[in-house]
């Protein structure tokens, strides 16, 4: 007997990342087209790539949601209907929208299912009911909502509920930050966020510092930067609350991120499916795996209660782990595998292969050669490295190594 678990929804910044996320167990992926989303600098998907993405995902029983979560001005909104036609033709499973004008355009011009983006900051049951009356089928709740409140919102509104389970967090109510607009001339709600909340600020009780005393009282802090969300220990609560979908943030992040997070959460949810519990020794392993992707310090955010001072990340950079993604398995042939090297490693280093399911494999690098058989002491990013085939390794598997002290 299997038990119900929520959908695992992973980010897909590119077609390759989509394939990685789906192969590692994501039930659904979300991605952006060339316009109307919030990640202007991401690869995003051309119409052709979109079609291929939907085709690949559907063949692997995964769903595809397309983000249309910009706050559009009139000129942009008029361009939307033709894109909606394309999405319908491609059999996209839903669109994620935050602007009411966009919601209405989708409803007027297509039969696409509408999910309300977290950008709309829907954070209470009354708000969810309003959006439901307008025609939204699912609400991606604001990250300020606890799981307990989400349960009530679901019950009262009758809508599907999606919550973030992992990834970077806006410190502000989503959609309520326009720092980039006024300081950089880039609309954060149309894809131009400059991440000003990650800067260090000096804070003072006076507008200008004039005395030594005032200077001494200044505080320097990354006071607006949030720690990253990690909800692997809250999975039971998500299930008990009947949350329909668990979302992972990070369309701009790496293959390693897309694959690792998808694998950990899908493994955990699969374990629950069979055992109706998360009481597994693997819980520690899952948490260790989550540390192997680039991240700020983890925190449970608002999942269990309002985030306090401990949720502030007091640094500028990601707290990278010593594990580094160094390659992706590009091809598997008769007795060999090709690694697409992303980060250099040396002879004698240990590589960790991450299969789509089950335990990781470790292997020492005995030989580094390219496809023509030329030998090297050290690999270089951008080369294809040929090595003997390891059992269970498949194309798109992630390969990691450890940073040397």
């Amino acid at each position: 007997m299997t038990h119900w678990v929520p959908e695992l929804l992973a980010p897909a910044g590119s077609l390759e990342k989509l394939k990685v996320a789906v192969s590692y167990g994501a039930d659904a992926v979300y991605l952006g087209g060339q316009k109307f989303g919030l990640r202007s600098a991401a690869d995003n998907f051309s119409p052709t790539a979109l079609g291929q993405a939907v085709d690949f995902a559907h063949r692997h029983n995964s769903l595809v949601y397309v983000v249309l979560n910009s706050f559009l001005h009139d000129g942009e909104l008029s361009q939307l209907p033709s894109f909606l036609k394309l999405l319908e033709t491609l059999n996209v499973d839903a669109v994620i929208v935050s602007d009411l004008g966009v919601v209405q355009t989708v409803l007027d011009h297509s039969n696409l299912v509408v999910h309300l983006s977290t950008q709309a900051s829907c954070i209470n049951s009354s708000s969810a009911r309003l959006w439901g009356e307008i025609g939204v089928k699912r609400v991606v709740l604001g990250r300020e909502v606890t799981i307990a409140d989400a349960k009530r919102i679901k019950k009262v509104s009758g809508l599907e509920i999606e919550m973030f389970v992992h990834g970077s967090m806006c410190m502000a109510y989503s959609g309520n930050c326009v720092i980039s607009n006024y300081t950089q001339g880039r609309d954060s709600n149309r894809g131009g966020c400059a991440h000003s909340c990650r800067f260090e600020y000096s804070l003072s009780g006076t507008k200008t510092i004039q005395t030594d005393e005032e200077k001494k009282a200044q505080k320097f802090a990354h006071f607006m930067s949030s720690k990253d969300l990690q909800g692997v220990r809250q999975l039971q609560e998500f299930i008990d609350a009947g949350i329909d979908s668990l979302k992972v943030e990070g369309r701009m992040k790496s293959h390693n991120y897309a694959g690792t997070i998808s694998k950990v959460y899908s493994e955990a949810l699969s374990f629950y499916k069979s055992n109706r519990s998360f009481l597994s020794e693997d819980l520690y392993r899952w948490e260790e795996e989550l540390k192997k992707v680039s991240h700020r310090d983890y925190h449970s955010g608002n999942l269990e209660g309002a985030a306090d001072a401990q949720s502030i990340f007091s640094d500028r950079q990601h707290g990278d782990s010593s594990a580094q993604a160094c390659a992706i398995v590009a091809e598997v042939g008769e007795g060999y595998q090709l690694l697409e090297v992303k980060k250099a490693f040396n002879l004698g280093d240990t590589l960790e292969f991450v299969p789509f399911s089950g335990r990781n494999l470790e292997v020492r690098v005995e030989k580094i050669s390219d496809i023509s058989g030329e030998l090297f002491e050290r690999s270089r990013p951008g080369m294809l490295m040929k090595m003997p085939l390891l059992p269970g390794v498949r194309p798109l598997n992630i390969v990691r190594t450890w940073e040397r002290p």
């Binding site: 291929q52 942009e76 009411l100 954070i123 009356e133 326009v178 149309r190 131009g192 000096s202 091809e331």
Partner: protein
């Protein structure tokens, strides 16, 4: 005499008292401005207790001044439920209407059958006409005004004004809110998170931004950061006059961080009632006023134009700009004078010897070439290849890893 239709926001009782004093001094010249009252419990930056607010509303009402209750906090479920309970006990007959921002509050008022006017605040996002029309359609009998985003330029405001059958309101003078979080970000730095104050103001500056001195307020609702410059558009004589051609516009004055003192308020009201001869005079007069009465510099914000999307093109590498209609895959290996390796990603696409391809490097360099031969990683010649395969062709100069490969048609 023409007067600019104004609506003033007041956070504290003393501001209301000053306002009434000045109005009496003016002895009823022109149209009376409307007033918004902000309380601690319901408003982002309110500093009045509820009882003080109700008392102020009575005073304003006695002077026949239209007065609106501000409920603009965003609310998670538990806070929403508690706030609704308090709201039900308020005598709303003291007010001309209410102003809400959280869609949950709007839905609640509709369900409760609220009888007064409703101003719906759409100042975060909501930059298109269709969305604004849809908000109105949600409760057309009650929503009498939409409060627009300060990111909408005057030309678009005019179009919106012409298309909507209700009043609209724009921020005309006051601090611009940049950031709103429910988290308390300031008091923890001073070691007293447990004692989050009613209202604490600090100034923030980042070395990574050319802008210095962001006002940051923390109160029971969280932390709010404002722009380093206040918005001021009342000296945009031509645009303001054009917007005033209908009676459906209101200009909001919300000096929350630094309220106007009595003399300043008197002067301010006088200037808004004065017809200036031309744009230059208007600007000069207002410039003198601002210099003498405001400590923060001012900006026009996006009132004249909003081009916050033009930089997006620069954020993207050239490789990512094209539509890539005939995309086949990506270069994953380059060995000078030997080969380039291409990973084929396109589903249902078959690449054959004799096909022509176009390569576009991350820098935007383009090369076209004919596939005269291709082989796999084991060195075997291939006649055709498809998704998932890696193929190797003759080296092409000027091409690096991450080059996109498209069919040249």
């Amino acid at each position: 005499m023409t007067s600019t239709p104004l609506i003033f926001c007041f956070d504290q009782v003393c501001d209301v008292e000053n306002f009434l004093f000045v109005l009496n001094k003016e002895r009823g010249q022109g149209r009376k401005p409307q007033v918004i009252l902000k309380t601690k419990g319901f408003s982002r930056n309110g500093r009045m207790e509820l009882q003080e607010c109700l008392a102020s509303a009575k005073l304003l009402r006695a002077q026949e001044i239209e007065c609106f209750f501000q409920w603009d906090i965003l609310m998670v479920e538990s806070i929403f439920l508690a706030t609704c309970e308090v709201f039900k006990k308020i005598d709303m007959d003291l007010f001309t209407g209410i102003r809400v921002q959280d869609p949950g509050a709007l839905h609640f008022l509709k369900e409760e059958g609220f009888k007064g006017q409703v101003h719906y605040i759409t100042d975060q996002g909501n930059h298109n006409l269709l969305g604004l029309q849809r908000w109105l359609a949600f409760w057309p009998q009650a929503i009498t005004r939409l409060v627009l985003s300060p990111e909408i330029p005057s030309s678009s405001i005019k179009q919106i004004q012409a298309s909507l059958g209700v009043e609209i309101e724009v921020l005309a003078a006051g601090p611009i809110l940049l950031f709103y979080t429910p988290r308390h970000l300031v008091t923890p730095l001073y070691g007293n998170e447990e004692e989050a104050s009613d209202h604490s103001l600090v100034w923030g500056t980042s070395e990574e931004s050319p802008h210095k001195g962001f006002p940051i307020v923390e109160n029971q609702h969280g932390t709010f950061m404002f722009n380093t410059k206040e918005l001021f558009i009342l000296d945009e004589k031509k645009a303001v006059e054009e917007l005033c051609e209908t009676s459906k516009i209101f200009f909001r004055v919300d000096y929350a961080l630094e309220p106007l003192k009595r003399e300043s308020l008197f002067e301010f009201l006088k200037l808004t009632r004065t017809t200036f001869t031309d744009q230059a005079t208007s600007k000069a007069v207002w410039k003198d006023f601002l210099k003498g009465n405001r400590s923060m510099a001012t900006t026009k914000g996006f009132f004249r134009t909003n081009k916050t999307d033009v930089l997006f093109k620069k954020l993207k590498s050239d490789r990512l700009k094209g539509e890539q209609e005939h995309y086949l895959g990506e270069v994953v290996d380059v060995k000078k004078k030997k080969h380039i390796g291409i990973r084929l990603s396109a589903i249902d696409e078959i690449l054959r010897t004799g096909d022509e391809i176009e390569l576009t490097s991350p820098e935007g360099n383009k090369r076209q070439c004919l596939i005269s031969s291709m082989r796999n990683a084991e060195g075997q010649n291939l006649e055709e290849a498809r998704e998932g395969q890696i193929i190797f062709i003759e080296h092409v100069g000027g091409i690096s890893v991450k080059t996109t490969v498209c069919r040249n048609v």
